[in-house]
Subunit: 356 residues, 2 copies
């Protein structure tokens, strides 16, 4: 059976002041289309039964997620006692799925990405499912790049190898976020796809790979498997997660595994990594301005203003981000929105916890 596992553990300091410690990126509505996780769930309609949608998150966020996604079953929430990056989160979900359905195929989906062209999205995931459901292949979804982006990791297709489907290639290499020169080479080569962070595999396959490449975590998951359904489950999960360091599924497993395939996705995709990307995604007026709330602009270009009732008036402004919430206002140039998290760090260092 096909299951979706939505990874919803992130904090998202890049979207301060709209995102906060207890209201992270997946819970906020960045583009006016609903909370990111709400969109992620909606996007699965027609692909995965609602009963088969699982969410890996922490206890703080679980309740808020249930509020924005009331259709999800309460017993499909898997709580991490502490964040340990993607490999342990995926392993924990796989153990739960195996208990429920030993033949489970799992789609691993970040909660906070934006995707257009739902049909194409479903087609790509189905291609991956066809490849992995009766094999030990780990499939990942790559996105055909539309620009030499330096903010994403890349996956190189092995175009000389045997394709598993028309749109499914063996993986040659995983590449970290490149510098601009390298990104241009990647882009022009036609061999590289953006690493979307979406993966598809059998639950038993990924648990076997974790056991192979991350043996301590593998042992931990066997302990958890035994404890699930007993009164000790929670404390065993807590013990296993507390005992070890976090590691990503890409670095810890995918880059080492033998049978890795990538689906070449051609749908529009964005990880919505910072405020400048929100500006890019929103509809613009003739001067490139995107806004929400009570705003006024005079001689203003390429500016993102998200406010509320208070009038935000921009005069002679270009390439700027202005975000107003109930208690704070952020002002930052479009091309420096990576630094927003530094502001959050500074507020933390100053003990201004009410703004975190």
């Amino acid at each position: 059976m096909l299951h979706a596992v939505i990874m919803a553990g992130g904090v998202g300091a890049r979207f301060w002041p709209l995102s906060r410690k207890d209201r992270p990126k997946q819970l906020i509505d960045l583009t006016g289309e609903g909370a990111m996780i709400e969109q992620t769930v909606r996007r699965l309609e027609g692909l995965v039964e609602t009963d088969n949608i699982w969410v890996v998150t922490n206890v703080e966020q679980a309740e808020q997620i249930r509020e924005v996604c009331p259709a999800l079953r309460k017993d499909r929430f898997i709580l991490e006692p502490v964040g340990r990056n993607t490999a342990p989160a995926i392993g924990l979900a796989a153990v739960h799925l195996m208990k429920h359905d030993p033949d489970a195929v799992m789609l691993v989906l970040p909660a906070d990405h934006r995707i257009e062209n739902r049909d194409e999205f479903h087609y790509c995931l189905n291609s991956a499912v066809e490849v992995v459901h009766d094999s030990e292949v780990l499939a990942t979804i790559g996105i055909a790049p539309t620009r030499p982006e330096t903010g994403y990791g890349y996956i190189q297709m092995d175009q000389t190898g045997i394709r598993l489907r028309d749109n499914v290639y063996p993986v040659k290499t995983f590449a970290e976020k490149p510098n601009l020169a390298t990104a241009k080479l990647f882009f022009e080569s036609g061999e590289f796809l953006w690493n979307s962070g979406m993966c598809v595999w059998r639950a038993d396959t990924i648990l076997k790979c974790i056991a192979d490449f991350l043996p301590l975590w593998g042992a931990g998951f066997r302990e958890i498997e035994m404890a699930l359904g007993t009164p000790q489950a929670e404390s065993v999960v807590k013990k296993v997660f507390s005992a070890q360091k976090g590691i990503s599924i890409d670095y810890g497993v995918m880059e080492k595994a033998k049978h890795v395939a990538v689906v070449k996705g051609t749908f529009e995709w964005s990880d919505v990594g910072s405020w400048d990307e929100v500006w890019r995604l929103l509809p613009h007026d003739a001067h490139g301005n995107a806004s929400r709330g009570n705003t006024a602009a005079h001689n203003t270009k390429n500016t993102l203003i998200l406010g509320g009732d208070k009038l935000i008036a921009a005069v002679g402004v270009e390439n700027l981000i202005v975000i107003e919430t109930g208690d704070a206002i952020l002002i930052c140039p479009l091309d420096r929105s990576q630094e927003v998290k530094d502001m959050v760090d500074a507020l933390k260092a100053q003990g201004k916890n009410e703004y975190l």
Copy 2:
């Protein structure tokens, strides 16, 4: 006797959103030192008796001015029925002063300028008083320029003529706001002073000059003079002011008068014409930032932030103005603060009267 006449009729759309239609520039505290008019009154201590301080304003502002300047006598407020620029305002004040003290010498002072070095300021005004009290000279206060400013009018001293005092020169010409090339010539010549808008003369002298150069206004002031103290006073003032167009004292009188002198002032002076000047006047941190209220800055330079309780966080920002009030936020580059009044015009055109 020496009297001060404070001209407080302005509206000050350049300081939106802090200044509003019913709370103009002279009533707001731009620099944290008190409302502009409050500072103007305080600056006269030791020079003019409080009983001899007069304020020319309109009925809407009079009450607010009395609130911030409670020491001023209520019967020293002279109300214009409608703003008609400086010449009529000064003429109206002169008529009132003559009624009270036929020998009155009047200092004409804008309500909303900023001056440092009070002793030097008093010294300059006293020099002017010595020159005008027994003559028909119109004296004006010029300020030795410290930069080739294009935002001020200039006064050229006749340095070859006979000085009336060490620091008092005959005036050669009045010059409008120059372009930058001309401003540089003015600045380098050493012959030009900034036109501060402060003037000193006998009340009878200025009334005579108005009668000579603005005969219709002269006739009006004779009517007003007769009506003062009668129940018809208010309606006569209203009739005279409604009947004619406004004109400035510089253009209408000073540029045409025979005996015009300028005192070379060396005190620090600013007309505080726009938000960028407020930034210049306020104390800065090591990165050139000036702020008030709850603010946080990261990699931010040369930025003015005036806020309140709400946290205003600037990230990677340079040369920007951010002003927050209860109902509005202005964002504008430092070098485009002249355009703030265009925003006010736009709000007016859109009928957003609640923000005017």
